[in-house]
């Protein structure tokens, strides 16, 4: 994969595996440079970021006329995360996204599938874990889950007795599922899932307090023009069937919305064993049809793990390789992905052509336009 990274008024072209600048000339490179320069990312909050995704989608249509187009929208997730939303702000954002998808699908001849990633609950409070001997590791964004690494004897019982913890999952429970080796390596000794609205503060937790907390959703809202799935894992199969019939398919993921906010949607099963899909794993199963056990990143992974030196794919999350299972890599299928979910867009969706915002830790570093070899 080669990528143009545009940090506003300055660009570089890199080889995504090494991270180093590489030669890449010709009409495609020029077109990618122009696209990147024309699409400065306006940020995650507000309607401008939503419009940016649609402008990017149109650029993608012009670039490789994709048969499968994947869009991701994070604005509803971020809009009320750190500050109270203004009246009507959220509804306006969701309406702009849904209307835009409908319009784009009609103009491009796509059958649309829209998935909401589930509701977020107002923050109720923080779960304290003073007696746990192991190390409680949170994440920057998935605050409703935490992992205990280096667990000590007795931690399991202590964790089960913690107020506002609805479930404790031990690493041993994963063995029977024969997960991806790196999944197992990074899975915490104990994974804690909070009750709705409760969150954890620990090693690696975000230092910016969130007003809302993601929470496990047994069902996710789905709107589909290619048939109705029973379960979120089935959407991949439906898309493949539609594509095989010659239909063009647009998959859109809208983060942070529930069924009441997605018009004409139906609730679709989202649970596999103890886990409700969300974040990276949700994208993985949508684009690959595989379960979260098959992905190298478990729902909560070890942030202290440093990639082997020298690092491969230094711009591509903690992944050791781009997601080869994605529909985005299907041979003979033209694919594209555009979105504000930053590196998830190229790493997991991994389409032929990608436009994504380059945001790390909330810092808007620019835009990346990538082309698979």
């Amino acid at each position: 994969m080669k990528a143009v990274i545009d940090v506003r008024e300055w660009q570089t072209i890199i080889d995504m595996k090494s991270g180093y600048p590489c030669p890449f000339d010709g009409p495609q490179a020029e077109q990618m440079r122009r696209i990147a320069a024309a699409l400065p990312y306006p940020g995650d909050r507000g309607l401008a970021g939503i419009e940016w995704v649609f402008r990017g989608a149109k650029a993608a249509l012009a670039f490789n006329d994709p048969q499968w187009l994947c869009l991701d929208f994070t604005q509803p997730y971020f809009s009320g995360l750190h500050r109270p939303e203004q009246p009507g702000e959220r509804a306006a954002a969701i309406a702009a996204i849904v209307d835009g998808i409908e319009r784009l699908a009609a103009e491009g001849g796509f059958a649309a599938v829209i998935v909401g990633s589930g509701r977020m609950a107002p923050r109720q409070g923080m779960i304290e874990t003073p007696d746990i001997g192991g190390i409680l590791q949170g994440t920057a964004w998935v605050n409703g889950m935490a992992g205990i690494y280096h667990a000590e004897p007795g931690d399991l019982e202590l964790a089960r007795r913690l107020p506002h913890v609805q479930r404790v999952v031990a690493k041993e429970e994963m063995l029977a599922q024969r997960p991806h080796p790196l999944f197992l390596e990074q899975f915490p000794d104990l994974l804690l899932i909070a009750e709705s609205g409760w969150c954890f503060k620990g090693f690696y937790s975000n230092n910016i307090p969130c007003l809302r907390v993601d929470c496990p959703c047994d069902q996710l809202p789905v709107y589909s023009q290619i048939g109705w799935p029973e379960h979120i894992e089935e959407i991949y199969g439906l898309m493949r069937q539609a594509l095989a019939k010659g239909q063009k398919v647009l998959l859109a993921v809208i983060e942070g919305i529930d069924g009441s906010e997605l018009p004409q949607s139906r609730p679709v099963g989202n649970r596999r064993d103890w886990y409700c899909y969300g974040s990276y794993s949700l994208y993985y199963t949508l684009v690959s049809g595989k379960t979260f056990y098959d992905f190298e990143l478990p729902p909560l992974f070890d942030m202290t793990r440093v990639k082997p030196y020298p690092e491969s794919y230094p711009f591509s999350m903690p992944l050791t390789e781009l997601c080869a299972d994605s529909l985005g890599r299907q041979e003979g299928l033209r694919t594209a992905a555009v979105g504000s979910r930053s590196m998830v867009t190229h790493s997991i969706i991994n389409a032929d052509f990608t436009i994504e915002c380059f945001i790390r830790s909330l810092a808007n570093m620019g835009v990346m336009v990538a082309l698979n070899d």
């Binding site: 990274i5 940090v7 008024e9 230092n207 440093v306 230094p314 810092a363 570093m365």
Partner: protein, 325 residues
């Protein structure tokens, strides 16, 4: 009683500016000891410390509040200067060291906020870390008293001081501190006492014209001092400020390197100005990638074990050896 940690020297019988110290029985104590907003693993390249234990896993520990009020602060919420309450956790020094050890860290770095406002807690942690043979360092705005600088020199192995400008007028207007001379004084002092690197966040049209003059000042302190010109993405009160011009700053960085050879320009993805080159023969010695916000990774290391250039033998400033596991 006057607080003698920060050069603002607040009268603790009144309210102190940072709110982190108080007088108790004739002694200055912390208002909220061992309270931290951030505990996470980091690498020296992310701080940035480019000439210090490359790729060594450090535990980054951040508190909250600050003695400055930078108009562009990217951590303003953590500084407690907005209305949102900062999310903190209280951890004993022993517990923090235990966490660091279990996660494979062999050093501590105090960052996120100004270490001077959490100095007593930081010093206790530094003592415990040194007892294990670890390294300890901090990022700072450099606005500490001479006494506090002395404490830091005694207890830290390295520091990164932010020289935001050479001008006191800029400090007053943008940083909320009265005197650039204090920071310059502390840079001169700390450069003699520990491994020092300096960072200058560039605010377009505000301090970008000072780069060559700042390079001359720093070269006068130590001609091999590593200096990080930082492409600031301003937030807080300056969120609408134009971003620094990469082409122009690349040009100025090249000019600055003629004065201060270990000058870098980073905090934009794919920066071509974050590698270490031998000032004498031009050999590429350390290759890095700016792959995220506020952070590089090291991708190639070619220095000899005695920190000399393999081609010409020129000594390169470097504290410690790289971790290439």
């Amino acid at each position: 009683m006057i607080c003698n940690f920060c050069e603002l020297k607040c009268d603790l019988s009144q309210s102190s500016l940072c709110g982190m110290y108080q007088e108790r029985d004739g002694v200055v104590v912390e208002s909220r000891p061992d309270c931290w907003s951030t505990v996470r693993m980091t690498l020296p390249e992310s701080i940035p410390m480019f000439h210090c234990w490359p790729r060594r896993k450090l535990m980054e520990i951040g508190g909250f509040r600050c003695n400055a009020d930078c108009s562009y602060c990217i951590n303003a919420r953590v500084m407690g200067m907005t209305q949102t309450e900062v999310s903190v956790m209280q951890l004993s020094p022993q517990r923090l060291i235990e966490i660091a050890e279990k996660t494979g860290c062999s050093g501590l770095h105090f960052g996120i906020n100004e270490v001077t406002v959490n100095l007593l807690s930081a010093l206790e942690l530094a003592r415990l870390a040194h007892a294990k043979g670890w390294i300890v360092g901090a990022s700072s705005n450099g606005y500490m008293t001479e006494a506090a600088a002395e404490l830091m020199a005694q207890n830290f192995d390295y520091m990164n001081i932010s020289l935001k400008s050479l001008s006191s007028e800029y400090y007053r207007r943008v940083v909320g501190l009265p005197d650039a001379g204090i920071v310059k004084r502390n840079i001169r002092y700390l450069a003699q006492r520990l491994h020092l690197e300096v960072t200058t966040p560039i605010v377009q049209t505000e301090n970008d014209h000072e780069i060559i003059e700042a390079a001359r000042f720093l070269a006068g302190v130590d001609p091999d001092l590593p200096w990080h010109i930082f492409r600031l993405l301003p937030e807080y009160k300056m969120a609408d400020q134009a971003l620094p011009d990469v082409f122009e700053l690349c040009r100025q960085t090249e000019q600055a390197r003629a004065i201060l050879p270990f000058t870098y320009f980073s905090n934009f993805i794919g920066s071509p100005m974050d590698n270490t080159l031998c000032p004498d023969c031009g050999e590429l010695l350390i290759r890095r990638l700016c792959s995220k916000s506020c952070g590089d990774i090291m991708t190639e290391y070619r220095l000899q074990e005695d920190h000399t250039c393999p081609r010409c033998g020129r000594r390169i400033p470097m504290l410690g050896q790289p971790c290439l596991d």
